[in-house]
Amino acid sequence: MKLLELFKRRGSADEARERLQLLLAYERKNRDQPDLVAALREEIMAVIAKHVAVDEDKVKIAMDRGERVSTLEIDIEVPNGGLKKEKKAA
């Protein structure tokens, strides 16, 4: 059986099919839904900005979609002493 499969082994087309199947399964599910990553980014940033002064460019967001679970990685560079001081009434 293994030997047979070896002869039948196809080139890059198999990989193309597998990548497409995985991608389209995700895209079909999320079609017409708001961009999750963008929404999360905005809200998380708003929460952090309340307490810390963060440079928008220092925020890295990465998404890795797996078949069952996906990971959302948010990397925020917080400057030392970036803590916002309580505003005093002038």
Binding site: G11, A13, D14, R17, R19, L20, L24, E27, R31
Partner: protein, 272 residues
């Protein structure tokens, strides 16, 4: 009442215009009254592929805006009596077409023709959505290649959501037309197979057009390949696809690897 068919793909350069011209000509040759509409406003090309570029006076935008009559804008094909073209305009104004205007034009054409074939622009924006808006059926032109299949999937989603038929809860008939199929590469497993494409898109097959130099030769001279080289393998594949559109139950044969002659091998020529 004629049938409205949109030829669409999402991705550009897969062969929508070529397929519109060839399917349209093949349908008209069976005696049907056929009109081809170019929806690619700003980048019209169907006129060029059909060899009618010097005969364009009025266009789809003029008719939709009621600045010209349909009869003034329609161009009759010089080779087939029952084949007409409604060219796109070259205006840069993206909003030149309204849904209402297009609806009026298509309703009028439905009265006069058996088949109204809409050549969609690439993309999923307004132009592409207007081209599919009033369709009864769709031909989705797909190359056996990852980006084209992904975009076809996207277009299928739009067809099922944004057409008048879909909004009324009816189903729009969809067909996959695989173009630029290279039998040799498929045999080597370097290209998505037809089964892969159909399984991924879960849509029935209308035909397989093999990659063939005759298609380019025909567009060079402004003729659908079905008229220019009727015996060509791609031309035959288009004729068969047109017959399936008419409802014939023809089996789809997988294109085979064309054998090169001895002389061709020596001279390094490619098979026709």
């Amino acid at each position: 009442m004629g049938k409205v068919i949109v030829v669409t793909s999402g991705k550009g350069g897969v062969g929508k215009t070529t397929s519109t011209a060839s399917l349209g000509a093949a349908l008209a040759q069976t005696g049907k009254n056929v009109v081809l509409i170019d929806f690619d406003v700003g980048l019209r090309n169907l006129d060029l592929v059909m060899g009618a570029e010097r005969r364009v006076v009025f266009d789809l935008v003029n008719v939709a805006q009621e600045n010209a009559k349909l009869s003034q804008a329609l161009i009759r094909d010089k080779r087939i009596n029952s084949l007409f073209l409604l060219p796109a305009s070259q205006t840069r104004d993206k909003d030149a077409l309204t849904e209402e205007g297009v609806g009026r034009v298509i309703a009028a054409l439905r009265e006069k023709f058996d088949y109204v074939i809409c050549d969609s622009p690439a993309g999923i924006e307004r132009g592409a959505q207007l081209a599919m808006r009033f369709a009864d059926e769709a031909v989705i032109v797909t190359n056996p290649e990852v980006s084209s299949v992904r975009d076809s999937d996207r277009i299928i989603g739009l067809l099922d959501a944004k057409t008048v038929k879909a909004e009324k809860g009816e189903t729009i008939n969809k067909h996959i037309l695989v173009t630029r199929y290279d039998a040799a590469r498929a045999a080597r497993g370097e290209m998505l197979s037809i089964e892969d494409v159909l399984e991924i898109l879960s849509t029935p097959l209308l035909g397989i057009i093999p990659e063939n130099q005759g298609v380019l030769r025909a567009s060079n001279v402004g003729s659908p390949v079905t008229l220019h080289e009727p015996t060509n393998v791609a031309a035959k594949a288009y004729v068969e696809a047109a017959r399936r559109l008419l409802g014939e139950k023809l089996p789809v044969a997988l294109p085979t690897v064309e054998k090169k002659g001895f002389l061709d091998r020596i001279l390094g020529r490619k098979a026709a």
